[in-house]
Amino acid sequence: MENSSKDDYKIQSFDIETQTLLKTALNDPGSVDLEKVCSVIVEQSLKDQIFSREAGRICYSIVQTEAKQTNGSSFRRHLLTRLQQEFIAREETRRRSTQQWVCLVSFICNIFDYLKVNNMPMVALVQPVYDCLFRLAQPDALKNEEELHRIGDQLEKMNMQRMDEMFYLLRDGFLLQEDLSSMGRLLLLEILEFRAGGWILSDTAQKYYYSEVTD
């Protein structure tokens, strides 16, 4: 029983002490330092490609258990605060290490995917996820295939429904946002088409978007 729950959350990459901490957090969140737990999870997510795609489930589980146990939401708060800090520093992270940036984006998307509020996605994260995708659509990122393929694939593997919902929101943004600059609209359109094309930019699209777009 214990072993299977370890495997479920893919926490083998942590040292034993941390694994124990996480397991306790999953069962009895009131008894551990949730800020530390949060820290541990976020840091690992930024390093470990695989974990960044699994962390959402663990986090969701802890949030649920804490709500049931103490009616509190301090883990979620710590997580969101930390995530926001990482998000704000994302450009720096990207410059420092593409690998970390890729992990960050997968992690944010994973959290967005799993952490629901009354079964609805966290609206507060829609814009940040959108920003990350925007970033991916920028010329310098698009040239970096590694960045693209990895994230694109990962995003697609996530809950398809969630992705669709988000893209509806993006599309609505495109259609409804009047004050979106023409550059903004172009980039939005690009992402939509990009995704439709399986995250590979076709030659035509490449010509359309990149012959005119300047940095």
């Binding site: 939401s73 710590h78 969101l80 995530l83 926001q84 704000i88 009354n118 609805m120 966290m122 609206v123």
Partner: protein, 270 residues
Amino acid sequence: MSTHQKYTSENDAKHDENRNKGPSRWSSCRKRGADGSLRRSHPNEEENKDQRCSQRPESFTTPESEGPVSRVKNWGDEVEAEEMRSNVHRDMHRYRRRILASDFPQRDRKISSGSSDSRDSKDSPAKGDIETDETTLLRRQKQIIYGKNTLAYDRYIKEVPKHMRESGVHPRTPNKFKKYSRRSWDQQIKLWRVSLHAWDPPAEEGSELQQIEEIDLGEIMDFDFDVECSADTETASHYPVSNGASLSLQEDSFTGTPKKMMKTEDAEMA
């Protein structure tokens, strides 16, 4: 359209006047124009450039962050607000269903006057007559949450299950869906919170939480903890109650008044 401007301290006084006017002798010192876009450092069109401004060292200007700083709350706050909003909507749907259901007399469930249910015929609003304004509901819900986040409330609900509650004796959470004036609602909340104090945890030596709550009531206490209290009474009463000692004290609308109000109310209720 909101402007996102950062001003040096010199410009603060002129802030409001100059916000929407064209270039003035002050505007060359500003990093951003009225539309939020960054100004180039040496605009040619501004004849009246104040020479002093252009030589001001970098450190005078508020450090630039990612872009125009909007009033973005942190994600933790935003998600909590989302959660509260969707909870309120869910509560409203449930409440509506209950009201409608209570209109049918053939229901098995007894509707007794002793129940703390808001379906009591004398109490329940006409079908269309419930509070639906989101701002109001959210504000009321927040006040209720502050009350429920207390140790007293926890102890209360453990001690007295709902079906055992008697009206008049046991505190009842005000019904946020009923139409009340602002004053009436606020008063109900205040009285509810006061009555919950009867379930405050027993005072312990060195329990700061308990001390502040007791002082709050303005009661003259029989001191078990003489020394600490007499010092604290002076200081505590000068500070707004919401100094973070307990969640129950983080209120916006009536932090100062309750202390005074409660004294007279206690006298009346006694």
